[in-house]
Symmetry: C2
Subunit: 162 residues, 2 copies
DNA sequence: AAATAATCGAAACATTATAACATTTCTTTC
DNA sequence: GAAAGAAATGTTATAATGTTTCGATTATTT
């Protein structure tokens, strides 16, 4: 995978959304996973935000779009999207964000900006390896890593002199 | 700091508890932080478990010990203990665990066993450094790292052949 | 002792997540 | 294309986690 990237605040985000949805459709078709209209709608709503979005925020947006949805509706969609690698859950925020390169399995470490709330994936296999290795030295067999770094992104550093 | 350690399942845990409480009292005295009876009680209850414990579990235990406690009682104590580096919050479990070496500030990565629910601290400055460095290359200023590895500890690997 | 700050009590409320079970829709098989 | 089975969705209720607010109490300082 490529380098981590916080896109400029003013980039054309519609392109991100369109690309993400197209990629998701392709992936699900390949895997015979059923990206139903509802699931795609949730994925689109997630991508429409620039920042991780909570389950109940999603629920509100679904309702704004006319769907008669209850919490399980959202959580089921989120579960499907996670299982298919299309979104990530940010544990430290209880929120969900679109995966920026869902086509290949990858290590995922997250940079979470405290100013603008945006998230970027680091995706360093090296770090993932090293974590697994250090764990192994303690006799521990790693199954899944949660790596989230809070801080300030480059753009916010410039703007706010934090 | 020293090597990460899952102690044997059958170690004398009372010693861990006593040592942790003694160290906590010393630290708080040094810092003029007020380790009140309630706060110490919460810390003890956390150490009495071998695994991370949730806020509401703690609440139940406080009540079992005769305290008339409400959620804020617990959360305030947890906040104090965290601020003073005496406990850690495990984000992926929404639960709290005693810090195994509170006297010195340290990097903290956690190994979380899915079988026995116990947690060990990795404490690798090297990994912490590397994460900060990778973030910095993306122009990102790190403030806090959450690193949690789910998997199976050595003892559970032997016992359960997972 | 009075003033100030820190801690605690209590009630209400807010947020996040799941359980249980009925119904509908899609897919497969005949 | 009809029946059977599997997957997805609807619905209601509830569990689990976390916060706000405000008043009372206790500790510390002056």
């Amino acid at each position: 995978m490529s380098k981590p990237a916080f896109l400029p605040h003013d980039h054309n985000h519609q392109r991100c959304i369109d690309a993400a949805l197209a990629e998701a459709r392709a992936i699900c078709q390949r895997k015979h996973s059923r990206l139903t209209p509802q699931r795609e709608q949730v994925l689109r709503l997630i991508w429409q935000e620039h920042r991780p979005i909570g389950a109940y925020e999603l629920l509100d947006k679904l309702r704004e779009e006319g769907l008669k949805a209850a919490p399980p509706t959202v959580y089921r969609a989120l579960e499907f999207l996670q299982e298919n690698g299309l979104i990530h859950r940010i544990e430290s925020l209880n929120a969900y964000t679109g995966c920026s390169h869902p086509s290949e399995p990858h290590a995922s470490q997250f940079l979470v900006c405290q100013q603008c709330q945006r998230v970027a994936e680091l995706g360093s296999e090296q770090i993932a390896e090293q974590l697994s290795e250090q764990a192994r030295r303690a006799g521990f067999a790693s199954a899944h890593q949660t790596v989230e770094i809070r801080g300030t992104c480059a753009e916010c550093l410039r703007h706010f002199h934090v």
